[in-house]
Symmetry: C2
Subunit: 404 residues, 2 copies
Amino acid sequence: MDACGATAHTPRTTTSDVLVIGGGVIGLVTAWRAALRGLRVTVADPRPGGGAARVAAGMLAAVTELHHGEEALLDLNLASAGRYPAFAAELAEAAGDPAAGPALIGYRRCGTLAVALDADDRAELRELHLLQQRCGLAAEWLTGRECRRLEPMLAPGVRGGLRVDGDHQADPRLLTDALLRACERAGVAFHRSAARALTLDITGERATGARLEDGTPLTAGQVVLAAGSRSADLAGLPPDLPIPVRPVKGQILRLRMPPANGPGGPFLSRTVRAVVRGGQVYLVPRESGELVIGATSEELGWDTTVTAGGVYQLLRDAHELIPGLTELPLTETRAGLRPGTPDNAPLLGPSGLPGLQLATGHYRNGVLLAPVTGEALAESLTTGELPDWARPFRAQRFGAEVPA
Amino acid sequence: MDACGATAHTPRTTTSDVLVIGGGVIGLVTAWRAALRGLRVTVADPRPGGGAARVAAGMLAAVTELHHGEEALLDLNLASAGRYPAFAAELAEAAGDPAAGPALIGYRRCGTLAVALDADDRAELRELHLLQQRCGLAAEWLTGRECRRLEPMLAPGVRGGLRVDGDHQADPRLLTDALLRACERAGVAFHRSAARALTLDITGERATGARLEDGTPLTAGQVVLAAGSRSADLAGLPPDLPIPVRPVKGQILRLRMPPANGPGGPFLSRTVRAVVRGGQVYLVPRESGELVIGATSEELGWDTTVTAGGVYQLLRDAHELIPGLTELPLTETRAGLRPGTPDNAPLLGPSGLPGLQLATGHYRNGVLLAPVTGEALAESLTTGELPDWARPFRAQRFGAEVPA
């Protein structure tokens, strides 16, 4: 692990209780939590910690990302958001830096302001507010003037907004770094193999590990498929075991804000988001001075190209919201792949093939759902069953009836 | 020279006929041409070949960049554009690759199309056309339909344009690489010192070299100051010898076009430029598939930050001109500093301080003016006088009367 200085274990053959295929946030949290239950865990990934979380903004946006028909997902999102402070503190300790506390992963209780720029946006935001109220969620309607009092950089044209004090943020890069350290300290082994280079081993109708291209087996009592948008790609999966995960490309920008203690005060003090011309744009300001602007949503297969149009759309929409950002340095442009599912909710636990469990399909919520995913998988790996609260997201809920 | 494999000479002390301070396109072409005249030349630069040319688009735009009151500069620009084919061929030979010919530096006789998007733009372009005609330059007025027949990717809204078949392009990165090789093969020595770390040595009212921070002298019969936008920064310059050069920041983008032999034909087949809302935007398509989009023009001192606003402006204006570029990968964002002067023309030859000559202040035309600059400086270094055709650009033309 170049990034965090941990030691890579790359044995020629491996026998573990659990082989986790995929070392992104979801694979790592699963590995860490399973190791804490006393299981011997191996993670297979060509570059652990290098998945979609390297790109993601890290909004913990259970309330502002609420959609009609996704009330079950709301419960899971809220549960995970509620666990975040304790999760972050425990992770800091497990990573060897308890004094850092939740700040180790950039966990910041800054709240979110969702604003509207025109009458259509305002109607849409009002609709969201009604849905939030029906679900018993805390969100306060503000006039444009009140929005600008909270965030003076907002465009004069902002017509109103929703103040959601419960939607916070974490820094996904810090989170993956901390998870890598926690895994290493918990004795998790790493095998630098891509899911694409692996073939699932099935012996007597049970998954028993995976095999490298040269035939080397990674034998395991159980296998967890946590390869994000690449999950359906694993060779050797039985054809009658569909894994309905597809890549949804997101392009994202990183800018640098002036120091928060400068003469003008902080550039932004909370996450600001809006619907602009039907597209989502959000600005996530970190304590470090980084400002993340996201994200496009494109269904183009495995393509992760940063395009002129993607960057243009994000800058145009963000500029409409916060005109003053034109002066900020643009430090990074990047694209990643969200693992989308037919109902936008994750696939957790037993897959239908004995010995194979899933922890994938987290779509826009991988960072938010890390705490509950680790917990749910640790439980199903040790008992064979998901905890009750995770059952709505069982991997087998689509049966064989999923869209191709 | 990491980039081209040449050997760096970094002696502890140096005595040369000519010390060139600055290893950008202008410093290198001066060094090469002086070495060809039999002079022993040393170039001082922390990273030879790393100046503004690493950023520049490389338009050779004598005709489309014509401005009222700059007719003298036009003559110099046209003279240099006319020398380009022979210069490029000679440089390819000097760089050790005669078979490559002018293509070695990406010299491409593709012509330029300057278009108008609205009535104001059209009026401005008509004005330019009149001026071009008065100066006897070849430029043909086209309707919007004729423009789109030449370049089918142009926006439907294009109202007309000027076809200028004599404005070509070179690739400034290939040009600097070739100049580095040519210098090395001609015996030029390199000293990796920044102009900022040097102090001009003056002995008996004559420049006699420069001195490193640790006191090491780089002794020379003559010194050429070719440090681009940093030229006025050299320590030890006499206070009554003003060098009226200021940095003018330009931000620029690089995109990648689909293969020119693909089903749709070339994305663009010539340089396309326009005035959009008063700002210049140009798109320079290279044979390699690179598409360069430039450029902002900002007076912000030495700042070379790529900003959200700069990138946004370029993408917005380019998108208005060529809507189809949204699909293209955005591969690079960069900013450089043009060395601006009070009359937008270069400062060439004797400086007023015996032993010190200037080759700086090329503003937007450093790549275009490389051939004539090398020739003019080689002449003034060997004879003490600029050739007649270069006299309008003599370094002393502002006297001490220049703006601070």
